[in-house]
């Protein structure tokens, strides 16, 4: 009867174990139809933009005719000259909404989705460990940010190369750089865009720890995203606007200046780090003390 007594479970966790959980997490995230659908939509955006520009400029005229209204760099008018500009245009088109929305869906679902499916309790009694599970989830969301951005960038690169001429390109400052360096800048821009989503990812993860419903967490995160985007347009709030996670998003265009204008880029990255720290800590504080009743 007392045989169990002599076999108390004191096991030393393998140091590689965290990566095992991360790998499992990555594989179930990227095997979901929902994730693939989101990536599919993101891949379609550059195709739409590219085809639209191609049709618009098929008579030889240039696109948009310099009416580049208000925000964002006027990359779009350059596409017909150089397909590489489709990468910048597509990232500028998806960064305000499509990309963060996709990230909001994945981040919002991270904990709340497991809770509503009931799988969270089994992961915790496995025991995955609350802190490690949260870190794994965050790492996976960050990986999704990168994957989503690269999907847009690569799709734009391919579509741009197929529909338009490629070659040397002209920076915003008017200097000429080689195609190879242009590609390098495009990759750098993709990384910066992915890093711009880190704040939303942390916010989504925090929201995800607040509720037991995956749908509610996704909707709340996307709702917050839209709200912040609107508030960022209201001039009376300009004292607050530098603290909105989306405020410096389009600063990635500064990487296309010669020399690169770093001020807003570093502000953006600093702000994202701040959001990650604040909402990451809040998510941890909430999740590590939460009663799991779902």
């Amino acid at each position: 009867m007392s045989r169990a007594e002599t076999r108390r479970p004191v096991r030393t966790p393998s140091p590689l174990w965290t990566f095992g959980l991360l790998r499992s997490e990555l594989s179930i995230t990227f095997r979901r139809w929902r994730t693939l659908a989101l990536l599919g939509v993101l891949a379609a955006v550059p195709v739409l933009v590219g085809v639209a520009v191609k049709i618009e400029t098929s008579d030889g005229s240039s696109f948009g005719g310099g009416g580049g209204g208000g925000e964002g760099p006027a990359f779009i008018s350059q596409i017909s000259n150089n397909g590489l500009f489709l990468v910048f245009t597509a990232l500028a088109a998806t960064l305000p909404f499509f990309l963060p929305m996709a990230v909001g869906v994945v981040a919002g679902d991270a904990i709340a989705g497991e809770a509503s499916a009931g799988t969270l309790r089994y992961l915790l009694v496995a025991p995955a460990g609350r802190t490690r599970l949260l870190l794994t989830k965050y790492a996976t969301v960050i990986a999704f940010c990168l994957a989503a951005t690269l999907v847009v960038a690569v799709s734009a690169l391919v579509v741009g190369a197929l529909l338009f001429p490629v070659g040397d390109l002209i920076t915003i400052s008017g200097t000429r750089i080689g195609y190879a360096e242009g590609l390098g800048r495009a990759f750098l821009i993709a990384l910066v865009v992915a890093a711009s989503l880190v704040g939303v990812a942390a916010l989504g993860l925090f929201v995800s720890t607040l509720t037991g419903s995956g749908i509610a967490a996704m909707a709340t995160t996307v709702g917050l995203l839209i709200t912040v985007q609107i508030l960022d347009q209201i001039p009376q709030l300009d004292a607050l606007q530098p603290y909105f996670f989306s405020h410096y998003w389009l600063s990635f265009a500064d990487l296309m200046r010669e020399p690169v204008y770093w001020d807003d880029l570093t502000r953006n990255l600093g702000l994202q780090a701040l959001y990650a720290a604040v909402f990451g800590s809040a998510a941890w504080a909430r999740f590590s003390a939460k009663d799991i009743t779902a």
Partner: protein, 339 residues
């Protein structure tokens, strides 16, 4: 799968992956696998779900945790598993405090809590691989092998490749059970394990529980089905409205409620009279049966008295008290949902 098939039938303790240290707990607390003292949970909003629970589950027992729906069984289990923080009181599982030492305790515990929860878009096998990847004590090198073994043990090998959302309730239940059996465990916590299973499935689960118990695993089984507990459990505890009403060996619990003497006869009036004369209490007459609390004397003499009084006896027996009788005797109420 490249491993020799011979490892399959070995005792769990010998299939443990190499490199796992086994420590003998020094000065271990009693002989209890689960021990709670004054364990209490009050949910926000003031609802008292569990009230001062002192539960002791002896090592090696098959412990039945009984109570109507809403009596606090699941809240107790969640506290034991570190999912819910107790409002007050302490809980020790495998000799260590929970939830503080959850990381050390939980790898030795397999659990099925409030039904299975699965990733519908993954196959049964992939679900188990996922849960196993979450366990720090699980050796990735033996993962596939252990998953296959667990699937085999619950009879799901043939359906292992099917998506879990296509599983029937009974299959999901089996898969949940397989997840609890991925590792050799010291303690299995099974919350309503036969829910959704057909009679054949229930029988298989009971056999499995007995098998595990004979390997030295302590099984903590919650149920609202009394006969299920009675069939497999060595010990039981009864909860009602958040309180522990009783606990102990099943035999003692049933013995608490005494059996009844049942006399089957066409001459019920005479029989009742004789039984009263013989000192039987609480005589109840119904159609062709007279039941009574057996008197404190040799029942053979009681039978002789009946026959000499001219009562034609068709049947004369003592019906053993069931756990249900014990429960009713303890709570003075039926087995209904607590409000």
């Amino acid at each position: 799968m490249a491993e020799p098939a011979a490892t399959k039938r070995e005792r769990p303790e010998r299939t443990e992956p190499p490199g796992r240290s086994e420590h003998r707990e020094r000065g271990s607390v009693e002989d209890a696998v689960i021990a709670t003292r004054g364990l209490t949970k009050r949910y926000r909003g003031g609802q008292l779900a569990v009230d001062g629970l002192d539960l002791t589950v002896p090592a090696g027992s098959v412990f039945g945790f009984l109570g109507p729906n809403g009596s606090g069984k699941t809240t107790t289990i969640r506290m034991l598993m570190g999912l819910i923080e107790p409002t007050s009181g302490t809980a020790r599982v495998l000799g260590r405090p929970m939830p503080r030492e959850a990381r050390a305790v939980l790898p030795g515990v397999g659990a099925l809590i409030e039904g299975p929860a699965l990733y519908g878009f993954l196959s049964g096998r992939d679900n188990l691989l996922r849960y196993d990847a979450a366990d720090p004590g699980a050796d990735p090198r033996t993962r596939r092998e252990r998953v296959a073994e667990a699937l085999d043990r619950v009879g799901l090998s043939a359906a292992a490749g099917k998506k879990a959302k296509a599983y029937s309730l009974g299959m999901k239940q089996r898969l949940g059970l397989a997840a609890a059996l991925l590792q050799p465990r010291h303690l299995l916590v099974l919350d309503e394990p036969t829910n959704g299973l057909d009679p054949q499935g229930m029988r298989e689960i009971r056999t499995l529980v007995r098998e595990l118990a004979s390997d030295g695993t302590t099984v903590f089984l919650s149920s609202h089905l009394l006969d299920e507990i009675e069939q497999v459990c060595t010990h039981a505890a009864v909860m009602a409205q958040g309180r522990l009403i009783t606990q102990g060996p099943v035999a003692d619990l049933s013995a608490g409620a005494r059996g009844r003497l049942v006399v089957t006869t066409p001459d019920v009036a005479d029989a009742a009279r004789v039984l009263k004369e013989q000192g039987a209490g609480d005589v109840v007459v119904a159609e062709d049966r007279v039941t009574a609390e057996p008197p404190d004397r040799d029942l053979a003499d009681v039978n002789t008295a009946l026959v000499t009084a001219g009562v034609r006896v068709r049947g004369f027996a003592v019906e053993r008290a069931s756990l249900e009788d014990a429960f009713v005797a303890l709570t003075g109420e039926g087995f209904d949902v607590a409000g």
